[in-house]
């Protein structure tokens, strides 16, 4: 039986982790390679890097990080943030990323998704949707949540599936950083209208939120950042808890 995936996400800025894991045995709390290794050794099903480097001059740092990480971690590695073109995707894959997540560029121009999934295969194209509730629907935001595109999130999700996306990474902007749980309605609605796997993101504060995301949000995978930082929970604790709640995980 296919297992639900637990995906820790690390925010990387100029080649360093912004919010790190505060483990005693960690030599360097800001080194993304070392942190990714701790996650993969702990049983993470995949690792996600979000590059939040502000300036283009420092963009090359993420390539170095991906190169080093892919030589140490033998679980899938997804990299997102600032991915604009086929060339960006090609570079990241060549450095050892297994999947690339596209956000703003996919909203601006769906052809990027179409062309890249044709060229590299759908399996490595993840479309990241940042959605915010507006009345009785959700709208897609771009540029790290700063700009409202006005596009309906459900329609956009369907369009991305049709364009060849292999997975959707859905973040509720209303919940992101709040630690009150995923936006279950958003997750379950998107998951029910597309036939590709959906990864839930935004709002996890405790392990029950992971359970709810999978059971009620009907997603294939749950992504979380802060609950794994500072050693609040380990990946293993999270997975054992999910198992105790009858959620199928790889242990």
């Amino acid at each position: 039986m296919l297992k639900n995936r637990i995906i820790p996400c690390l925010d990387v800025k100029n080649g360093r982790v912004v919010k790190g894991i505060n483990f005693v045995d960690l030599k360097d709390a800001g080194d993304p390679v070392e942190q990714a290794k701790i996650y993969s050794d702990g049983g993470a099903d995949e690792i996600c890097f979000l590059d939040i480097t502000a300036s283009n001059e420092n963009r090359d740092t993420i390539y170095e990080v991906v190169k080093k990480t892919s030589k140490k971690c033998f679980v899938p590695l997804t990299v997102g943030g600032g991915v604009r073109s086929i060339e960006d995707i090609n570079k990241l894959l060549n450095c050892g990323a297994d999947k690339v997540s596209i956000n703003t560029a996919a909203v601006k121009n769906a052809a990027v998704v179409l062309e890249s999934s044709k060229k590299f295969g759908s399996q490595c194209i993840v479309v990241a949707i940042d959605a915010k509730k507006s009345g009785d629907k959700w709208e897609v935001f771009t540029h790290g949540g700063r700009n409202n595109s006005g596009i309906d999130a459900l329609e956009f999700a369907k369009k991305m599936e049709d364009s060849g996306a292999g997975e959707l990474l859905v973040t509720s902007m209303d919940r992101d950083g709040t630690q009150v749980g995923y936006d279950i309605n958003l997750m379950s609605e998107i998951s029910s209208i597309v036939n590709i796997p959906v990864i839930a993101s935004g709002g996890v504060g405790n392990l029950d939120h992971l359970v709810d995301g999978i059971k009620l949000g009907k997603v294939s995978a749950v992504l979380a950042a802060s609950i794994f930082h500072y050693g609040k929970y380990t990946i293993k604790e999270a997975k054992e808890y999910l198992k105790s709640k009858n959620v199928q995980v790889r242990l």
């Binding site: 892919s70 030589k71 033998f74 060549n94 759908s122 292999g166 796997p197």
Partner: protein
């Protein structure tokens, strides 16, 4: 010992290279190439593959003599070859992704889209699934039955003769996820992305 990973523009093979180098350390000479002479003179060959069946076959055919070289290596000389993901699927006679495409024809069978039972199962089949080992295979030495492997695919290999199947996985139906026919090995899952247990399979292949 010389092991060659076939580089034929089949998409992203960095993870395959990294994992084989990690397992081999300095004990095995690993080449990444599409050079025919190097392939034919290798002791072992790894055939990766990403994207569609058709795009991989087209990529193989676009390198002059490569298919003949692989045939010589695997069929005439019967040296060990491991196909991964679409690399395995290409062993078939025919693939039906994008359009009907002729495969390498090494193991009788076809490659068809997984039956998602009217949307009950999401496609691609992405993530960790357990393998059910149904035949002893040299690459499963010290790999426990029901181990988790990482999958990402929408198409499945359906061999004509079931005796080549070494493992299946349960997703919508029993999907063939590993085959062994004499010197030819293949995994639908990605050992290079399947953590320590995946590296064990790579180690087993290297040590054949």
């Amino acid at each position: 010992m010389k092991l060659t990973i076939v580089d034929y523009n089949s998409g992203n093979i960095s993870s395959v290279i990294n994992s084989f180098r990690e397992v081999a350390q300095n004990k095995v000479n690993i080449e990444v190439t599409s050079d025919l002479n190097k392939i034919i003179s290798s002791d072992k060959v790894v055939l990766p593959g990403q994207g569609s069946f058709k795009s991989c076959i087209d990529a193989l055919n676009s390198i002059n003599g490569l298919v003949d070289g692989l045939n010589e290596f695997a069929i005439s000389k019967k040296k060990p070859l491991l196909g991964i993901c679409v690399g395995l699927q290409m062993f078939a006679d025919t693939g039906y992704e994008e359009s009907e495409t002729k495969g390498l024809g090494w193991i009788s069978g076809k490659v068809s889209k997984i039956d998602n039972q009217n949307g009950k199962y999401k496609l691609p089949h992405i993530g960790w699934n357990q393998i059910n080992i149904i035949k002893e295979s040299k690459i499963f030495k010290n790999v426990e039955n029901n181990s988790h492997m990482y999958f990402v695919h929408s198409y499945e290999f359906i061999p004509e003769y079931k005796n080549v199947i070494s493992a299946t996985t349960d997703y919508s139906s029993n999907i063939v996820c590993s085959v062994e026919k004499e010197n030819i090995f293949g995994t639908q899952f990605h050992p290079e992305k399947s953590d320590k247990i995946g590296l064990k399979i790579i180690d087993n292949f290297i040590n054949l």
